[in-house]
Point group: C2
Chain length 306, copies 2
């Protein structure tokens, strides 16, 4: 089974504190590193967590509030200064390109590596990334400015051949690929072995959904249905529901309700208002609705589907 985990780099909302960084998360799928959002200071947080940031090839920016992207130009610059030559792809709202271009221009920076910009749109779900084992989709959430969530979905892998079957029936190497795809196998004595007897089911596919920043928004439920791990923002506790609605943010119980209605297996909450020092009350409140809730914190690493 592929490695599939997330690391929380920042759990604060708009104003960074001395303990909490603005939003950023690292996703590792099969040693491909993806960054979601990049608040101010993310490059230093990555260093402190001993994450080699040159291995990040894809950065997804949810929306253009500063706490989600003010660290991007610094990371892009440091990648350049440290000799990167590998392509970097940035996915985000169209205006982000103008910001990056302007800052590169005024700093007289000619990047040594290709920086590819993929504009996202916040009207409908859209596949924005694809490799042999993973797809990433953006989808609209409900915030004061155009904002997308992101969902990482593993692709169905091949059937797994039972190791003992290979030696038992003398299966030649060149047959293995087709057996993994579902073929039966006829051995040298002419005996037909059904695929079911040779293989076991593929690993279950796993998924991770990132929903920030957003008000309570039921339209995301079909998009994230059955997700293995859901990150949903919880800027406020339930007594601040009016604040949350006004600012297009969510409360603990709203996040938990989305997790419940979407049938998520686990929930991580974060993006806490700077007013909260102690986060246990937020955790307890969310667990009243959705017991499988955990708090995001700087350095939290969660394996998905384990």
């Amino acid at each position: 089974m592929f490695k599939f985990n997330i690391t929380v780099l920042g759990s604060s909302s708009a104003i960074p504190t001395t303990e909490r960084n603005p939003t950023a998360q690292l996703i590792n799928h099969n040693d491909h590193l993806f960054l979601i959002d990049c608040g101010e200071g993310t490059q230093v947080t990555l260093r402190k967590m001993h994450i080699h940031f040159q291995k990040i090839n894809h950065i997804f920016i949810s929306h253009l509030h500063g706490d989600h992207f003010f660290g991007l130009i610094g990371l892009i610059s440091s990648m350049h200064l440290l000799g990167r030559t590998k392509k970097l792809t940035v996915y985000g709202p169209p205006d982000l390109k103008e910001i990056l271009d302007l800052q590169l221009r005024v700093t007289w920076t000619e990047l040594q590596y290709p920086l590819v910009f993929h504009p996202t749109q916040a009207d409908k779900p859209e596949q924005i990334f694809d490799n042999e084992s993973l797809s990433v989709f953006s989808f609209p959430v409900l915030h004061r400015i155009p904002t997308t969530g992101f969902i990482f979905k593993e692709k169905q892998g091949e059937r797994r051949i039972r190791k003992e079957a290979i030696s038992l029936f003398n299966i030649p190497l060149h047959e293995i690929a087709s057996i993994k795809k579902g073929s039966d196998f006829r051995d040298s004595k002419g005996i037909l072995h059904s695929n079911a007897s040779l293989t076991i089911d593929p690993y279950p596919v796993r998924s991770y959904a990132y929903c920030a920043d957003t008000a309570y928004f039921e339209e995301i439920i079909p998009v994230i249905k059955g997700v293995d791990l859901l990150y949903h923002e919880t800027t406020f506790m339930q007594d601040k529901a009016a604040n949350a609605a006004e600012k297009f943010h969510s409360t603990t119980k709203e996040a938990a309700t989305i997790a419940l209605k979407a049938g998520a297996k686990r929930l991580i909450i974060g993006h806490y208002s700077a007013r909260y020092d102690d986060l246990q009350p937020l955790l307890l409140e969310s667990r009243e609705v959705f017991p499988q809730t955990e708090l995001a914190y700087e350095g939290l690493k969660v394996s998905i589907g384990c």
Copy 2:
């Protein structure tokens, strides 16, 4: 004597490390706070050092390399989110305004406070700030892109009245202002007291010069002549003089030579390349030329003229 000190917020060169922040310095003159440069993460550094950043009313940006300004938009945003209504004036190269305007526009931020932009030019020295006790001048230094240093100069204060003279000669309150300006005083018995007998000299005026980023550039010497405290960048040790020249940076001995030729009283060096873990060799090398050298480090606070 007025409070006059600097606090180093960042001492690294272009690439921040886990120990060293990109460039920023806080100047406190008579409880007026000024910020010079604002590398990524400066707002959090200010918080960690318990400096109330809403008290900063003037920010000076030397040039548009990211390690000197990528933290500015985050600081401006946090000031806004935390309810600032007081005017903030930013001084820097003209393109900085375009960067700030664009980022405020795309983040849909309508600042609640007046943000005034004062463009600097890197052709000749220019007074850019003035109050009753202090003037600030920008002046050209020599870097790859247009860059200015800044010099903070106290104004000559008034003569100081001797406290014992007030009671001894029954000096009425309304006479004090003119005595401080140099007048003699005739007491109720008609006796004339010379100003020299009533007052002592004003406090000596003090000055602080900030020279970064720059190659070795003797043209700054007349501008910073006799400065009480000089900050001069030292990205490299002397064995990397060729690197320094190529990148328009300075070495330890070059910084020290500028301090020596300018007759500075003290020198602080900083903006160290990330290649240097141990900074003692830089200090020793600079002291060979200019013994009154100290190393900049995060949190260093230096009182000027004491």
